[in-house]
Symmetry: C2
Subunit: 216 residues, 2 copies
């Protein structure tokens, strides 16, 4: 019997794809969400994490009596995706799925500057500057890469004929960008159709409807 | 018959781990290095890459007559490591190897600020500021994570009992940091022993001795 515990903050962010993989497959897991503003709890907890960061996936095998902890969101996501069959059907598909994830993570470096500016309550001018100089140029490269994959995909998924964790990751990030006004459906018909397709996955509907609403 | 072509700039950087995996396993590949200062050649080439970036791995299978191109350095590295048996021996080891790679990539975001400052010939003061405020705090987190893994590793490798591509990636990055004066052997005995161990891999010696000397 394997018990999963996913520990992350109370946002979608870097934990959401792993949560979705559990819900998608009906796999029981403990969804532990540490309140972002509870700095005392996080400080306490931080010491016990492998790399001093979240998310962390704890896996307890009650038969072999082993417990392991995996840090880093993409490492966790890839591990679960592989286990549940959402990492791509061939080594080459897996590599392309990984490339999409890496492209997302490259973009995230720029997006993070914006979210940090919001969190530290920077001026409207400063936020506009970050959007214009940092986020939008990075978004252009990112969106172009995604659109290039989608226009040649008969399935409507980013890679191959089946849903992968890259689809979940990108759709979730589009949700975030939509909230910031940086992904406007009417301006991006191809990405918008993709976003809709993933948001309508029947196995995820009830989770999408019941999860906490957060900006990130 | 499979033909590999790795296309990257004429530095170690994001292409080096894949090159090392080829040399380690004695797998023939074309090591195409585009001169960093040949902007015309790169501009020409850029259009034909999957995501407008390097490295790119081209794989041509002369039997099935297929050709694919994989972008993104970690996706390429993981693909080759899996193929050649250097990605970890279990799904859990693979996840930890991936986590180390992600930790390295997190650090790289900070290191990049420094290398960009060097390339754009910023003042000594500005470079010192980036080292103090950006690189050193990120390096502290990164080194602590690596040391935590190494002190509990009987094999001396980062993950498990065998060499993985995470070892190659981290050792190569330590070489780079050494060149910048940011990794001083006498200050980091554990990382230094690890670095030496990887630099002494017999199958890589002749490549290490013959490759072009570059800062990155």
């Amino acid at each position: 019997m394997i018990q999963y515990k996913l520990i992350y903050f109370d946002v979608r962010g870097l934990g959401e794809v792993s949560r979705q993989l559990f819900h998608l497959t009906g796999t029981h897991f403990e969804d532990i969400r540490i309140p972002r503003n509870d700095e005392k709890l996080w400080k306490e907890f931080k010491k016990s994490t492998p790399f001093g960061q979240l998310p962390v996936l704890k896996i307890k095998d009650s038969i072999s009596e082993t417990e392991i902890e995996i840090p880093q969101s993409s490492a966790i996501g890839r591990y679960l995706a592989k286990k549940f069959g959402y990492s791509g059907k061939t080594p080459e598909e897996e590599a392309m799925v990984d490339a999409v994830i890496d492209q997302f993570k490259d973009f995230l470096v720029s997006q993070k500057q914006l979210t940090l500016a919001f969190r530290s309550e920077k001026s409207e001018d400063e936020i506009k500057r970050i959007i214009d100089d940092v986020v939008n140029p990075a978004k252009k490269i990112y969106f172009e890469a995604l659109i290039k994959l989608l226009v040649k995909s008969p399935s409507g998924y980013l890679i191959g004929d089946n849903l992968t964790w890259a689809d979940l990751q990108i759709a979730d990030n589009l949700t975030t960008l939509k909230g910031f006004g940086l992904f406007v459906s009417s301006e991006e018909p191809i990405l918008s159709a993709f976003h809709q397709k993933i948001m309508n996955i029947p196995e995820l509907r009830s989770y999408f409807d019941s999860r906490p609403l957060t900006m990130l």
